[in-house]
C-alpha cells in the first residue's frame, strides 16, 4: 500500500498542466496499447546508452505527436513511469 510520501517524491510534475487539465469532454476510455521490445533483455543492449537515456524533452516531443502531454513521472531503478494528460 502507498504512503503519503509518494506525493512528494516525483521526478517530474507539470504543475501548470495539472492545474488546468479539464476532462469535461472525455468520452473514449478504451485505449490503444503499443509495446515495443527493441531487445529481448536489457543485457542484450550492445550500446552504452539505452531508452532511459532519452531526455524528457524528447519524450515530450514524441508524445506531442500522439496528442498527449506529460503530467508527472516517477523513476525507479529499472523503469520510468509517465502519467499522461489524456
Amino acid at each position: 500500500t502507498v504512503t503519503i510520501k509518494e506525493l512528494t517524491n516525483h521526478n517530474y510534475i507539470d504543475h501548470e498542466l495539472s492545474a488546468t487539465l479539464d476532462s469535461t469532454d472525455a468520452f473514449e476510455g478504451p485505449e490503444k496499447l503499443l509495446e515495443i521490445w527493441f531487445f529481448p533483455h536489457k543485457d542484450a543492449i550492445t550500446t552504452e546508452k539505452t531508452l532511459r537515456d532519452i531526455v524528457m524533452a524528447r519524450w515530450i516531443e514524441i508524445l506531442k505527436l500522439v496528442k498527449c502531454e506529460v503530467l508527472s513521472m516517477k523513476k525507479t531503478k529499472e523503469l520510468d513511469a509517465f502519467l499522461l494528460s489524456e
Partner: protein
C-alpha cells in the same frame, strides 16, 4: 494514459482521440540518432526490433477517432509501413463490435541468438471494463466543488492529491500482497484525479513491474482499464495469482461487461492454468467468448464476460 520506459522496451497506452501510432517515425529516428540503435533492416526502410505488440478493444465512438485510428485496417496498413513481419488478429465477436484487436510481429530471434542472453520472462494481464456500477464509478468523480484545502506548499498539487485519495479510498494500492506487513518489495505510486471526473494511476512494484489503471466514470460511457506485467504467482511466492487480482478489480468497478487478456510465454504458468477455469469462480457472469491462441512464442488467453 501512461508510458513506461525500460532500458530495452517501452509500453505506451493512450485513450481518447490520441494518435498513438504517430509516434513511430520520430521514435525510431531518435533512437537511431541518440542511441545509435539502427533497426532498419530492409531496403524499403522497415524496422525489425525484437518484438512489437499493438492492441485495443473496439472504441465506444470509433467515428470520433482521428486519422488512421478510425478503423483497424488503416492501423494495420500503417503498422505494416514500419514492420514487415506483423500479423493482425480480430479476437471475439465481430458482429457486435465488441471484439479485441491485436497486431504482433514475429519475434526477431537473431537478437537473442547473437547475444545468447536469457529473454525476459514476460506476462501481461489486462482487464477492460464497461458499464461500471454507478456507485463504484462515483468514487472517481471529484467534481468542481471538491473541497480541497488550497495547496499548502508551492509544489503541492490538487490533481495528484485527489488521485492519491482516490487510490486510498478504493484500495487500488492493495491489489497485490505488497503491504509492508507481507512483503519487503518496493512500491511506488503516481495517481491523478481529473476534474470534473476521471482517474489515472501508475504503480511500480519491486522497481521493475507495473500496473496501471485508467477510469472514465461518466454515465453512458463509463469505462475502466487495468493492465499489469506483474508475475503475481512468483512474486507472492505462490500466495496469490491473477484470479485473486481479477476478483479484487471486479469488486472495485463491478462492470456489467468486461474482457480479459492474458499473455504468457510459459503455458505452465500457474496463473494461465487457473485463468483457463476462471468462469467457475465468476458466478455472477456468463461467458460470451473464451479463446486461446498460440502466437509464435506467446500464449494468449482472451475472455469476454457479461453480468447475468
Amino acid at each position: 494514459s501512461s508510458l513506461f520506459v525500460f532500458d530495452h522496451k517501452l509500453t505506451l497506452k493512450t485513450c481518447g482521440t490520441t494518435t498513438t501510432l504517430f509516434c513511430l517515425a520520430r521514435l525510431f529516428q531518435i533512437i537511431e540518432q541518440e542511441l545509435s540503435w539502427d533497426f532498419q533492416t530492409t531496403a524499403s526502410g522497415k524496422y525489425k526490433p525484437f518484438k512489437v505488440f499493438y492492441s485495443r478493444r473496439c472504441f465506444l465512438f470509433p467515428c470520433k477517432q482521428a486519422a488512421i485510428h478510425q478503423n483497424w485496417t488503416d492501423e494495420v496498413d500503417y503498422l505494416n509501413r514500419f514492420f514487415d513481419n506483423g500479423t493482425s488478429y480480430s479476437v471475439g465477436r465481430n458482429d457486435k463490435s465488441n471484439h479485441w484487436n491485436l497486431y504482433v510481429t514475429e519475434t526477431d530471434r537473431a537478437t537473442s541468438e547473437e547475444t545468447d542472453c536469457i529473454e525476459d520472462d514476460d506476462e501481461t494481464f489486462e482487464v477492460l471494463m464497461t458499464e461500471l456500477d454507478p456507485e463504484c464509478a462515483d468514487k472517481f468523480v471529484c467534481g468542481p466543488d471538491t473541497s480541497t484545502a488550497a495547496p499548502a506548499e508551492l509544489n503541492e498539487d490538487k490533481g495528484h492529491n485527489l488521485g492519491y485519495q482516490m487510490t486510498k479510498k478504493t484500495k487500488l494500492d492493495d491489489i497485490y500482497l505488497n503491504s509492508s506487513q507481507d512483503s519487503n518489495l518496493s512500491f511506488h505510486h503516481d495517481a491523478f484525479a481529473f476534474t470534473p471526473c476521471g482517474y489515472s494511476s501508475n504503480m511500480v512494484l519491486d522497481e521493475k513491474y507495473y500496473y496501471t489503471l485508467h477510469v472514465t466514470p461518466e454515465k453512458g460511457w463509463s469505462y475502466a482499464s487495468f493492465e499489469s506485467n506483474i508475475p503475481v504467482f512468483d512474486l507472492s511466492q505462490g500466495k496469490q495469482d491473477n484470479l485473486d487480482v481479477l476478483l479484487h478489480i471486479l469488486n472495485v468497478f463491478q462492470p456489467r461487461e468486461f474482457s480479459m487478456t492474458f499473455f504468457t510465454k510459459n503455458s505452465e504458468n500457474p496463473s494461465f492454468k487457473k485463468l483457463l477455469r476462471i468462469d467457475e469462480s465468476l458466478s455472477e457472469y456468463i461467458t460470451l467468448d473464451k479463446i486461446v491462441y498460440d502466437l509464435d512464442d506467446y500464449h494468449l488467453f482472451y475472455m469476454k464476460l457479461q453480468k447475468k
